[in-house]
């Protein structure tokens, strides 16, 4: 135990007694992401299975299995091989599932079961540091998972143009448009019961009816507006545009704007919900 050194400065060193210099934002957020990186490293194997293998199944079943049937009968969707139609959509869709997993049980664990958020808040960290650090880490995970999936999908011939590289940032944005609201939802939940509803009644229908496997104009007219207000359809449409080289700038801007709005509005609500939950 070192005593406070005599000093003309206001602050002592971090490990010494006396007023200590405040942490820069970079240090606070870096400490949270540094922790989560350790956690991710430890759970890598399970993560690979849950986040990567399942979109691969969709790629094989839909893109290649169903795709060859469709292409045989119709010559592809609007002249595009079904695989190249569906792969950019799966890129966007897998981010939704990743967000569903990452922003539900682990967040509830840190809030309620292990209370690790409480242990962080006992230090100089604040709720916002936790939120930025945790969601930033999830974003990092979205980048890695999406990049790996895209690489594999490209080996199967899933992309038509180099423009498909833009699918990566679009997928991350789509993933965040799910992560932030779900994170906020989790912060309001007393237990994990609500997650089942989220997975079964929201994620699954979204996956099926957001233009992922077929264009939404195949849906009954009353169902189409539902797709417009969910992030997935906007992610799927923009991802498909850049991958197929059919970018319609005003539409692309609209899709990305909606996704961004989801992130920003949800952020405000999420931070409020998490603060209410943790600071009592």
């Amino acid at each position: 135990m070192t005593g406070a050194p005599m000093s003309t400065e206001v602050f002592t060193a971090r490990g010494d007694h006396g007023p200590r210099p405040p942490l820069a934002a970079r240090e606070r957020i870096g400490a949270v992401t540094g922790y989560l990186l350790l956690v991710y490293r430890r759970t890598l194997r399970g993560t690979i299975i849950s986040t990567f293998v399942s979109p691969l199944f969709f790629l094989l079943a839909m893109g290649i299995g169903l795709g060859s049937l469709i292409d045989e009968r119709t010559g592809g969707l609007g002249g595009v091989p079904y695989l190249q139609f569906v792969v950019p959509a799966i890129v966007a869709m897998q981010t939704m599932w990743l967000a569903m997993f990452e922003a539900t049980y682990p967040v509830m664990d840190y809030i309620k079961w292990s209370k690790l958020y409480d242990s962080m808040l006992a230090t100089p960290l604040r709720v916002r540091d936790i939120l930025v650090g945790h969601i930033g880490s999830i974003a990092g995970r979205l980048v890695v998972a999406t990049a790996v999936f895209m690489l594999v999908a490209s080996l199967f011939g899933g992309f038509a143009t180099w423009g498909a590289l833009w699918c990566l940032p679009i997928a991350v944005l789509t993933g965040l448009a799910f992560t932030v609201p779900i994170f906020g939802f989790t912060a309001t939940q007393d237990n994990e019961d609500g997650f089942t509803i989220l997975f079964r009644l929201i994620a699954t229908p979204l996956m099926l009816f957001s233009g992922t496997f077929f264009p939404i104009d195949q849906l009954p007219a009353w169902m189409q507006p539902l797709a417009w207000v969910t992030p997935l359809w906007h992610g799927v449409e923009s991802s498909r545009m850049v991958a197929l080289g059919t970018v319609d700038p005003p539409w692309l801007a609209l899709h990305l704007g909606v996704l961004l709005a989801f992130v920003l509005v949800a952020w405000v609500l999420c931070e409020r919900a998490l603060t209410r939950r943790l600071v009592k």
Binding site: K115, S119, T123
Partner: protein, 309 residues
Amino acid sequence: MAEEILLSARGLTKRFGDLTAVDGVDFAVHKGESFGFLGPNGAGKSSTMRMVGAVSPVTAGELRIFGQDPATHGPQIRARLGVVPQQDQLDQELTVEENMWVYGRYFGLSRAQVRERAVELLAFAQLTERAKDRVEPLSGGMKRRLTIARALISTPEMLLLDEPTTGLDPQARHLLWDRLFRLKRQGVTLILTTHYMDEAEQLCDRLVVMDHGRIVAEGSPQALIRQHSTREVLELRFDADDHAEFGTKIAGIGQRIEVLPDRLLVYAEDGDEAAAGVHDRGIQPLSSLVRRSTLEDVFLHLTGRTLVD
């Protein structure tokens, strides 16, 4: 030179909706002191502790920690505190040393600093051999020591311990008390809550007894016992469902009689003399035991209840 006050509260109040958890308490803790909050579950100890830890906003009253207001200087205050929460809050999947490193980084310590401190503190907590093991299979006592070691990583000036030994076996408790005693000797200010009177007696220079969110007594353990209890206590058990009737039979013996569901407590300066008095009246208890007064007796006298109920 007047002793430096690290922590002071005046009219400190915490309400959750209609529930008043802490009801206007006053206390002050000096540097180097070991200060305790003693009381049963639900007395408001943990709520007080969370406010002192600058994580829970104060509803009313004034709280100063290192002379600063937690409402405006939360991160600055927390940078100088070590917190041992009631639940360990460790990452069970990570190793012992990883838990230390991660936590040190929250205080802005460098990677080199946290590694160096972790080695020292794991030795202090007698966990060096488990440094590379996962936390999950460790015993309750080990996890508790790790939580204490972790709280010390930033060299805190004040260590807050919320029920540090609840749920531990006697051996683990004694080991922990020994470590806390060493910290105290190194000059670390300890603030702890407990519902064990032996723990309060072992560790606290001074304590407050809390009940229903209020402070009902304050002083050193010895002073509290002197003030609110007798030197000795005679415990009598009878072969009866209701001990109250025996209470009337032995009325007048000792200074005061307390009737509990399973026994009678006779407060007296000389317990053996009181036991002889009972015998003289021809009353035969199943068992009789003379012991010194403890804080439990103080609490019982002040609230009419035992501490752990």
